[in-house]
Symmetry: C2
Subunit: 237 residues, 2 copies
């Protein structure tokens, strides 16, 4: 099987397609301004995102029944509001702020790159975000997905193999005809172990200016690109 | 709940969005011409479509394990090739002809209407077609879906209530904020019983010129429209 057999590209979303940190920080600042709350919203965003992996791992280990990301985000939010001493928000305001994860801005090259990739490949999300979140985000950020695939459809979170295998099955393709695209090597490694092809698009700004990110290529990665536009170039779109 | 609360529209696809009969007939004729086979391809299309409901009902009654539409279509195709005495097709040709269901042409108003409806609502398929079929068809026919929802995700075929309820759940919406759009009243009735809103868009040409189709409005239908463009008008898009 060569790369020319690839028919579909699946994409990690948080960090790979969209800038969750900048987007959550901006929405936090807007809420803070409206409600006269002054906290470090970038730190708030980091902590919110940071809480998601342990919650998800509880689901993966079976300590929690299947719980989607909207619900996990809400649990973490309630804890953080208390810790950051943000009081007086109505239930509607909390729910709307929780849905700020549905309104994340894409990196500048994401929509133009996806639009080119879509001319040659089926392009689908393959994210731990739930279907509603990914659908709403696609509309908000103008991402031209052919199909929304989510861990929610398999009741398994990445990096469980069921997610990658389930995606290829729903796309009706042998798994080696599907290429996982992500900014995170552990996601790509797990995809590769199931037989998927891999494209690494590092996003050095994902965690802000002060965090070092591993952007080096690896010999087991099929395609390395700095942007989705470069990925489109390399895949002949 | 009034119609102004509707946030998402789900669509039946075969017959409602695309002209399966004309499309299968044309692809059959092309195959027949290439292989020197002369049969009544409109009749072939009708029989192929006609075989799908009994096969699906076997799955619904538990007589068959979950089987997706691609596989059901293929079983029916193999029977029909024998019955119509079409011999000498290679396995690749049969498989490609089976995938003619992924390449159905939309009614002329479908893509323009959906493009308008998408500005105000989440628009999603809700079809018995499998995810791959619907995804490929969306690309082929230029249908700007926000999300591909399919009976395959629930391992239940319409008109089972699990399909409608499951769709609202994946969209993250109370079921009364979702409107089912279809050319078939039994689909709308089943949707309505679960709490969905309903839009009826009859397609008098679905079964060809010689079949009478019930196009009358009913008092339990929320919106009646002759085309997707008229539906967009009526829903204020």
């Amino acid at each position: 099987m060569s790369l020319s057999d690839v028919k579909a590209l699946t994409f990690d979303v948080f960090g790979t397609v969209v800038d969750w940190r900048g987007s959550i920080t901006r929405q936090g600042e807007a809420l803070g301004k409206a409600r006269g709350v002054s906290v470090d919203w970038a730190e708030f965003a980091d902590r919110w995102r940071g809480g998601y992996r342990p919650s998800m791992d509880k689901v993966r280990r079976g300590e929690l029944p299947w719980t989607n990301i909207d619900a996990l985000h809400r649990e973490i939010l309630d804890e953080l509001l208390e810790e950051f001493e943000i009081t007086g928000l109505t239930e509607d305001e909390k729910e709307d702020f929780n849905r700020s994860w549905h309104r994340l801005d894409a990196w500048p090259d994401s929509a133009p790159g996806l639009t080119r990739l879509k001319t040659k490949f089926v392009i689908a999300t393959l994210s731990n975000g739930n279907v509603a979140l990914l659908t709403n985000m696609g509309k908000y950020a103008g991402l031209p997905w052919d199909c929304i695939l989510s861990a929610e459809l398999f009741h398994h979170y990445k990096r469980d193999p069921e997610v990658y295998k389930g995606a290829a099955q729903l796309l009706g393709l042998p798994i080696e005809q599907v290429m996982m695209t992500a900014a995170h090597k552990d996601d790509l490694k797990a995809a590769r172990e199931t037989g998927m092809r891999t494209a690494f698009v590092p996003r050095p700004g994902e965690h802000g200016p002060d965090r070092d990110i591993d952007t080096t290529n690896e010999d087991w990665i099929d395609v390395y690109a700095s942007t989705f536009e470069e990925l489109a170039d390399k895949l002949g779109c």
